[in-house]
């Protein structure tokens, strides 16, 4: 844990609300992205993020410095997000979703057309960000969670095992599969269109 973080936590425990704002500020995006990876829509993710932050504030005295503050915060966010899903009964659909993307066996990519790179500058465009978000949302939850923790938030394999309560081997398998599934979602096909001047359009039937 960063030294300044430890100081801030101490101040928050002493009732300093401004210290809490300062403590949370660098983690806002991380909390939001984590919530999005579970609930898949912006409004719900914001609700979850707010609830998680409130919970962090009320439980901060119970935080133990042997774990990373970010890991602790992410675990709270996951719990809140899953509670939100349970309330919405969305897990019924998620379980079907996850069955369709079984973890068993080797993953066979579906598209082998020459890859037309998607330049990162395209992320300036709302529709491209939305297309990527939609592609991520199309993955089963178990894959989205690992992808977001590892490739968006840069958590290590070890940290991911702690946050999700799964083994290292499972983290690696899900991460690998998530990346290849996402590639397939965004593959241009032989009629590729991730090119300048043309909006994204789905060229394959899935």
């Amino acid at each position: 844990m960063r030294g300044d973080e430890a100081e801030l936590i101490k101040s928050v425990c002493g009732g300093d609300r401004e210290a809490f704002y300062e403590l949370m500020r660098p983690y806002e995006r991380m909390i939001y992205a984590t919530a999005m990876s579970v609930v898949k829509n912006s409004a719900d993710a914001e609700d979850v993020a707010q609830e998680a932050v409130l919970k962090a504030l009320s439980n901060i005295a119970g935080f133990r410095a042997e774990s990373k503050f970010s890991t602790w915060l992410i675990q709270i966010t996951y719990n809140e997000a899953k509670m939100k899903l349970r309330k919405a009964h969305a897990h019924l659909y998620e379980s079907i979703d996850n069955q369709q993307q079984s973890e068993e066996g080797d993953f066979w990519p579906r598209d082998f057309a020459d890859w037309q790179p998607i330049p990162s500058e395209l992320l300036e465009q709302n529709e491209i960000r939305q297309a990527l978000q939609d592609a991520i949302n199309s993955l089963g939850r178990i894959y989205r969670e690992v992808l977001v923790l590892r490739d968006v938030q840069d958590f290590s394999i070890k940290e991911t095992t702690v946050i999700l309560g799964i083994s290292e081997a499972t983290v690696k398998t899900r991460h690998h599969r998530a990346r290849l599934l996402l590639r397939d979602c965004l593959a241009p096909g032989f009629d590729g269109c991730w090119v300048k001047g043309q909006p994204y359009r789905r060229v394959r039937p899935w």
Binding site: R17, F20, Y21, M24, R25, E28, R29, Y32, A33, M36, S42, E46, A49, Q50, V53, L54, L57, D106, F107, W108, P109, D111, F112, A113, D114, W115, P117, I118, S120, L123, E124, R129, L132, Q133, I136, L147, V148, D151, V152, D154, K172, H175, H176, R179, L180, L182, R183, L186, A187
Partner: protein
């Protein structure tokens, strides 16, 4: 010494580890020899590397406008 060949399925199995530099030097060498002659696996590698770079870009999970302000306001309402 000749490089031992590796199949496409074995390459796909290791692509994520390859990108994370988490394969042994021997496997890396076999994969690189394979990429030189297999356009399909090169397409899978290029695409995977591309999407990993894109999702890691902070712009994908942009917070909605006013997110911080609303969070701050909610906290201020607490007793």
């Amino acid at each position: 010494m000749a490089t031992i060949e590796i199949s496409c399925v074995e390459v796909w199995r290791e692509i994520s580890n390859y990108l994370d530099e988490d394969v042994s030097p021997a496997v890396r060498e076999r994969m690189e020899a394979h990429f030189k002659v297999c356009a399909h696996c090169t397409a899978v590698l290029d695409g995977t590397r591309n999407v990993v770079g894109l999702v890691g870009d902070g712009r994908v999970f942009q917070m909605p406008d006013g997110f911080s302000k609303r969070l701050h306001e909610r906290l201020q309402k607490l007793p």
